[in-house]
Each structure stands twice: as C-alpha cells, then as structure tokens.
Amino acid sequence: MSVYDSILKRIREIQGKTEEEEPLTNISASSMLTAEITLISSLLIALIMVRLISKTLMIVLVIAVFFIALMISPIMPKLMREQNDSFSNMIFYIVLALGIIVALFYWGNLNV
C-alpha cells in the first residue's frame, strides 16, 4: 500500500471515531500528506548535522531513520494523537522533557 493510501486510511480511522458525518476532503488529506513529508524531510536534513560529531554516525543514522520512517509511516496521525489537548498527555511530556533536560545538561556537560 502506498503512503498516500495508508494516510487516507489512518485519517478515516481517526475521523471515524469522532465525527462520522464529516466527509474526508481533499484539503485535509493533502495537508496531512504535506505535514508527513515536511516532518520526514526536515528530520533527515537535521540529521545531516550529526556530521559535526561523526561522519559515519551521520550516514548510519540518516539511512536508519529513512527506512524506519518508511516502515512506520504515516507518522503524522500518531504524532497528532500524541499532541492533543488532554492535560495528562501534556504533563507527561513536560515531566519527561524535564527529566531529559536535566539529565542531558548534567551528564552531557560533564562528559563532553
């Protein structure tokens, strides 16, 4: 199944839960597709910056992420579901981010 078809299917799944009467418009499908492509391409370009640390690592990461992205796409519907307005979701990510920031700054600075 092509990426486009699987995106359509995912959107239908999500929309089916909440508002069934809304038809799936071209605009919402194409915007989902744009978001998906933007996400993956900017992620891949950003990964090229790893070359400043290690060139081999960069190549491995870019290839790995490219294939992972192909396998698990569409990512955008999942990402959208995670970034919803539910408070428990927000606070989970915020405390997670706090943990990551403190750990990274503390050990990252001492060991880099």
Binding site: T18, N84, D85, S86, F87, S88, N89, I91, F92, V95
Partner: protein, 123 residues
Amino acid sequence: MIISAQLFSFFTAGSLVIIGIFAALFLDNLIKKIIGLAFIGDGANLFIITMGYKPGGIVYIFLPNMTISNFAQNASYPLPFALVLTSIVIGASTLAVMLGLVIVLNKRHDSLSASKILGDESD
C-alpha cells in the same frame, strides 16, 4: 546531631519538590493536584531560605558597638529572606487564581476529576 540542620533542610526541600511533581502527575483530584503544586513552590522557597542560613551567624542588623569587619564576617546573608518573601506572595496569588478556576470549573462540570475536566477537547 547526625546530620546538620542545613543539610536536613535541603533534603526536606528536595523531597517537597519531588512529592509535588508526583502529585501533579499522578493524582486525579484537581484540589489534590493543586496542593501538590503548592508543595513544589514551598520546596523552592525552603531551598532559598536554607541557603541563607549560616551556622553560628548573627542577625544582619548593624548595632552601634560592632566593628564593621566583625559584622561582615558573621552576619548571615539577608538576600534569600527578602527574595522568599516576594516568592511567597507570588505563590499565594497563583494559588488563588488556580483555586478560583477550579471553583468555576467544578460548577460547570460538577466534578473535580482532572481527566474529566481537562481532557481532550474533542470529546
């Protein structure tokens, strides 16, 4: 004394912050969540006060029969106390706003459950 008062106070401040974050994450009742949030603020305040503590220090008021160097060496540090006073006021006002919002939302939803009131909007 096994551990010094200052160290003990630091540990208390740290555990207050951790308990507060735990409450904000895991408790569903909004009032309990807010009590947890007050804990985080109190932990930060206690931390600052503890920093101003000086073992064997004297009150930072310059009395006529003191020498300046003696005063400078022994007076405890006044800045943390001044800061905490302001920070307590800020904490109290945000607490008031939060509780006020909870009152309104409790009337509207007839519940105090965070997952019910603060859930995703589409439901």
